[in-house]
């Protein structure tokens, strides 16, 4: 699946396939903090903004290296995650949702208004990046995306199955039980949130480099909600959930292009159908074998 972009003939299909992988990385990040640890965020588009604009800034002004740009975006998003998380994660879930909502809006407003750096509402063209000194072709960028997708799935899989994932799930289910097991609840929430923001930052950076253009419209509130929806529709707290969710919710709007007028309505109805018919997500239906494929063998 990760190599599909190379097999597809048309540039358009390739771009959609890469978009799926990028969304899957971001949704995997959201799934770690929300699906495993129970931290519902409706502002993760804020980390996409940071990842994307920092990567764009790196490529345009500091070094054309794609690796450095994406790493820069990831570090910046991770740092933002820690800054947001430190005061917020002690609060109850409702407040976490409110603060992340505010963060997402604020990040977007900065992108709109800090015109000297971000280009404002008109957006910003990203110079062609290089990988290991060579100018990156579309193909190499696709490969890099695929590699980062695999890496993030690997980390999600290892985290999910290790004592880290057990601690996250314990916190989601009962903070009291988690505490008495010796799990430092605040610390683990912070870890989940940080990994999550880093993954979303990576997705943002990839998006900037692959599309060659960033503008604030790509990271609005609806995108935060979309990431959450990907996890829920795909299956919360499952490895394959966000991947399946990302695939469907990236393809769906493309398929519905001919019915542009009714696109929103149709997506809504289809999503509602998923939620009603498969409350535990699509992954519970078809994900078993995907989990088995990706999962590391139990130690």
């Amino acid at each position: 699946m990760t190599l599909c972009p190379l097999l597809l003939g048309s540039d358009y299909l390739r771009f959609v396939a890469v978009l799926i992988l990028i969304n899957a990385i971001a949704a995997t990040g959201v799934n770690l903090s929300m699906g495993y640890c129970g931290l519902v965020s409706v502002g993760h588009a804020g980390f996409l903004v940071i990842g994307a604009y920092v990567a764009a800034f790196f490529v345009n002004h500091i070094s054309t290296s794609a690796v450095l740009a994406i790493a820069g975006g990831a570090v910046a998003a991770g740092a933002a995650g820690i800054v947001i998380g430190l005061p917020t994660l002690r609060l109850n879930p409702l407040y976490i949702a409110m603060v992340t909502f505010g963060f997402g809006q604020a990040a977007n407003l900065v992108a709109v208004n800090w015109i000297e750096v971000t280009g404002g509402p008109n957006g910003l063209a990203v110079n062609p990046p290089t990988i290991l000194g060579f100018e990156a072709s579309n193909t190499t960028l696709y490969l890099a995306t695929a590699a980062l997708f695999l890496a993030s799935s690997w980390v999600a899989s290892c985290s999910g199955q290790s004592r880290l994932g057990r601690a996250f799930l314990a916190i989601k289910e009962s903070e009291i039980a988690a505490r008495s097991m010796g799990i430092a609840v605040e610390r683990y929430k912070m870890i989940a949130f940080a990994i999550s923001s880093i993954m979303v930052g990576i997705a943002g950076g990839l998006y900037a480099l692959v599309s060659g253009y960033v503008n604030p419209d790509a990271f609005v509130f609806q995108v935060s909600v979309l990431l959450v929806t990907m996890c829920v529709a795909g299956g919360l707290g499952r490895l394959s959930g966000p991947i399946i969710g990302a695939a469907i919710l990236t393809i769906l709007p493309e398929l519905l292009r001919p019915f542009a007028e009714y696109k929103e309505l149709l997506s809504g109805i289809i999503l509602l159908g998923f939620l009603v018919l498969m409350p535990r997500g699509l992954a519970s239906l078809v994900g078993g074998w995907i989990d088995a494929l990706i999962k590391q063998r139990p130690a």
């Binding site: 690997w154 980390v155 899989s157 290892c158 985290s159 199955q161 290790s162 004592r163 880290l164 057990r166 601690a167 799930l169 314990a170 289910e173 009962s174 009291i176 039980a177 505490r179 008495s180 097991m181 010796g182 799990i183 430092a184 870890i191 990994i195 707290g237 590391q296 130690a299």
Partner: protein, 262 residues
């Protein structure tokens, strides 16, 4: 007489607003013994456990665990120091397997860092394998090894209590707090629980604090019994003394007070 006291509680009081939950509760627990706390519903037994496991902050009083001031420790410190508990309203993770639930009890015993866990390194996996062996051993003690790989949510009620017990003992803690492990159990399950507690005492020799309503269990396994009523200690002694204590019988069966009768 030279007593080896592991836990000493000195005049601990707790109130929620004007509601007094615990009043000047004192007790000493000898190492390696089973110390039962009984009392009518609402006597403050679970609240005392919550104070001792640092889920609640006591308003007054002190508690000394070995040489440490217990109220200076966080719940995480307590787990590291070898204090584990079970809950009256069972807290197991239904989505996880039975084995994974037990592994949670070993959370603080890992030596490798979290980064190695996130990347699934060889050193982490080796350690995880070792922890799994320990978890299977604990499951054998409570007799649940056959269902180790089933999701915990699929177990019947009595098994969940045993699972909590396995999670509680897997790290070989020095002090175990069992909050009503027999609640809701059939008499057959209680017999099994009694045997399991005896087995745990023989093999691990921990100190156990036990809250229970099932008198048969309490009388059979306890070395000492403390009776709480309305947040205060009304009696303490060996099982025989408690069974004959008039104040205890009154607290349990109710008594028409002289004032009310007059």
């Amino acid at each position: 007489m030279n007593r080896d006291i592991i836990l000493s509680v000195i005049k601990v009081s707790l109130a929620f607003g004007g509601n007094r939950i615990l009043t000047d509760v004192s007790l000493d627990v000898d190492r390696g013994r089973l110390f039962a706390i009984i009392g009518p519903n609402g006597a403050g037994k679970t609240s005392l456990f919550n104070v001792l496991t640092r889920l609640y902050d006591a308003d007054r009083g002190q508690a000394v665990l070995d040489d440490a001031n217990l109220f200076d420790l966080s719940p995480t410190d307590l787990a590291r120091a070898g204090v584990m508990r079970t809950f009256q309203n069972i807290l197991v993770l239904k989505e996880l397997s039975v084995l994974d639930n037990v592994l949670l009890g070993l959370h603080t015993t890992y030596r490798t860092s979290l980064v190695t866990a996130a990347f699934g390194t060889i050193s982490y996996r080796r350690e995880e394998r070792h922890r799994r062996d320990l978890a299977v051993e604990a499951l054998k003690v409570v007799g649940l090894e056959a269902v180790a790989n089933l999701p915990a949510g699929s177990l019947p009620f009595g098994y969940l209590r045993l699972l909590e017990l396995a999670r509680c003992i897997v790290s070989r803690p020095k002090l175990i707090l069992l909050d009503e492990p027999s609640a809701g159990m059939t008499s057959q399950e209680i017999e099994r629980l009694t045997d399991t507690i005896e087995l745990i005492r023989q093999s691990l020799n921990p100190t156990i604090l036990l809250i229970a309503h099932t008198m048969k269990l309490v009388m059979q396994v306890s070395d000492r019994i403390l009776v709480l009523d309305h947040g205060a200690v009304i009696a303490e002694g060996v099982p025989k003394e408690i069974a004959a204590n008039q104040a205890v019988i009154d607290a349990y069966l109710g008594r028409v007070s002289d004032d009310a009768a007059a």
